[in-house]
Amino acid sequence: MAKPESGIKKHAPSRLSSLSVLETRDELEEKLDKCYKCVTNLLNGLSEREANDALNAYISKGAGQHEEVQLGLLFSILVDSKTAVKCYRDMTLTSRDGLNIVLLKTNTIIYEKWLRLADSVRTQILWLIRELIKNNVPGADSVCFILLRQISGGDISTKNVYLCESTVDMFYENKSWLEKQTGLIPSVVYTFLRVMIDHNLPSLATVRQKETDLCILLLREKFVECMVIGRDLVRLLQNVSRIPEFEKLWFDLMKNPTAISPQFTGLLQLFQIRTSRKYLVSRLTPDMENKLVFLITKVKFGQQKRYQDWFQRQYLSTPESQTLRCDLIRYICAVFHPSNELLCSDIIPRWAVIGWLLTTCTSPVALSIAKLALFYDWYFFEPEKDSIMNIEPAILVMYHSMRPHPAITATLLDFIARTYNNFCPMLMNQVKQGIKLSLQTIVNKRVLPSLSPLFDNSKLDKELRMLLQETFPEFCSVEVKDEVNKLEPIDVDNSNGENHLDNNSSEIPDARFSDDEDDIPIGRLGNDVKFQPIRDMPCYQHVDISENIQQLAGDIKDLTVELQSER
């Protein structure tokens, strides 16, 4: 065997990041360190007054020297807390660009390097942002926005919880500043409403209460600013509706909207706003987004297994991380819309990534909110305002899973059929119209030529087919109608023109779904895709939930126990 030859060179130690033996300082740190050394040399042995003169004299030589001093002082703040106060003061006094260089570099460090930053550097960054806010520096809001992106959904590690708590504290202590940042407010609300559901352990009750207080404050006082988020604001509010403060808010949202804001007319108004991508993007850290985008733009269909395993290992392997799946699904449906070129390529399609995210989910509760996330743009779909690309992944994952993994298709069909009636009883007609318009648009735009292969498929059990038949009669074919017990469809909405729908049964590619074929993947579905059927199918089985009830808290627990004893 070859002799052990180490191959490790002594790398210069990093003061920003904790590096393994395999990692080196990057160019960014090299540059900052050079500036830092320059400033240190400049100030060596000088009194405070002399120091100020020396810095000013150096800066007056040119823009390069100005940048050097600004970045050197920034680096000193980050790596040496003892110098922070003095360096911050020098930095402000000598800045000739309103701290622009400092803000830009700070944003880059947070955006690109946060994951690897040493804890002490993270603390210093939070200190710096507080100073920027306190001194009302223009641009502090953009640093806050980038910092919020580093708050990771589905992560209750000490580091992430510390970041949540420090950020909430920072905003709460600077309420009057925050209330003036109209662009930042919705991001703050969206972030903390989202991560709040992760903080449901007793040990995290304090953090959660702080998050609740901040969100309620902003929602109550700045609701119009928050409305720009769009319908996903409602989705997140649904998840926290059991928290007493939000229960009260929900009451007003439904019964007394003008009490929240005179410009707010009710839930429908929110539901009709397509969520701005900005907020959906913000719930993925830059690292998650990079990796997910690489997967859906560069990885060939059939070769995704290792990438999915790596992503799963890093972000989806713990019980608490299961809630992240809904953020990823919202991103895929509503943010990432592939070009035609990409759609025609051999890159993994969006629906296959969603299939993976659904089938590997280990928590029934998280799976349920993930399904809701998948269909969220269906309920109030308006062809003129909404994009077909938002609703396409759901229909395609159902269609393509039918043969290899009918359980996935069944659970999703069951979900959409049930939410058709139950999603929002107050707005039942609008929901029904939204879902039907979604289905109609899917057929009109020929995402699928016909829905019959989905709704009339003999792979689905009889009860589900009857439910679909009852719910979506106009999208089922005639033959199957005769086969199952015919129930009069309830005429829920006469105004939406559903009756004009053509019967597309003549276009059904029935060969693909006929019964006598083997259970092999259809169409583009490669053999390598390992869908695992979801174990808990939504059929009516007696399950003992006593154990699960223990995980609930408050009213919901009492109500569930009550319900259980009724049986």
């Binding site: 180490s6 033996v21 990079n290």
Partner: protein, 127 residues
């Protein structure tokens, strides 16, 4: 320093020296212990042209994770137990550049037994 030229995995041959190469780590085998107490890990690494095993010693192998993207400088390739294998050398370096975002191909596997490589080794030995 001049510009570094990189070799592709598919172009690796027994006896090749001064190899600069970028790869993504696909598999890391359980470490084996040498008589003098070193841990050796055989890792399957890949670029878009193919894959090969690399042998890594001690803390280098320990610090590595699958999905890591690395740059090896001044490595060399040779046949070990019938398989073409990549090694780091004391003159070179191995540095992690990133994670995940690199395309790879698992074929051809350059570490699969290849009679031609064996022939090349015997020639190298007699040089």
């Amino acid at each position: 320093m001049g510009e570094i030229t990189y070799t592709y995995v598919k172009d690796l041959r027994p006896g090749l020296k001064n190899i600069n190469i970028m790869f993504i780590v696909l598999d890391i085998a359980k470490p084996t212990r040498t008589k003098d107490g070193h841990e050796v890990r055989s890792c399957k690494v890949s670029d878009k042209t193919g894959c090969i095993n690399i042998s890594l010693w001690d803390e280098l192998g320990e610090a590595l994770q699958t999905g890591d993207i690395c740059r090896l400088t001044k490595g060399y390739a040779n046949v070990w137990k019938g398989s073409l294998t990549l090694y780091s050398s004391k003159f070179g370096d191995i540095v992690k550049l990133g994670e995940f975002c690199m395309q790879f191909s698992e074929t051809p596997n350059m570490s699969d037994p290849n009679p031609e490589f064996l022939k090349m080794v015997s020639m190298v030995l007699y040089l």
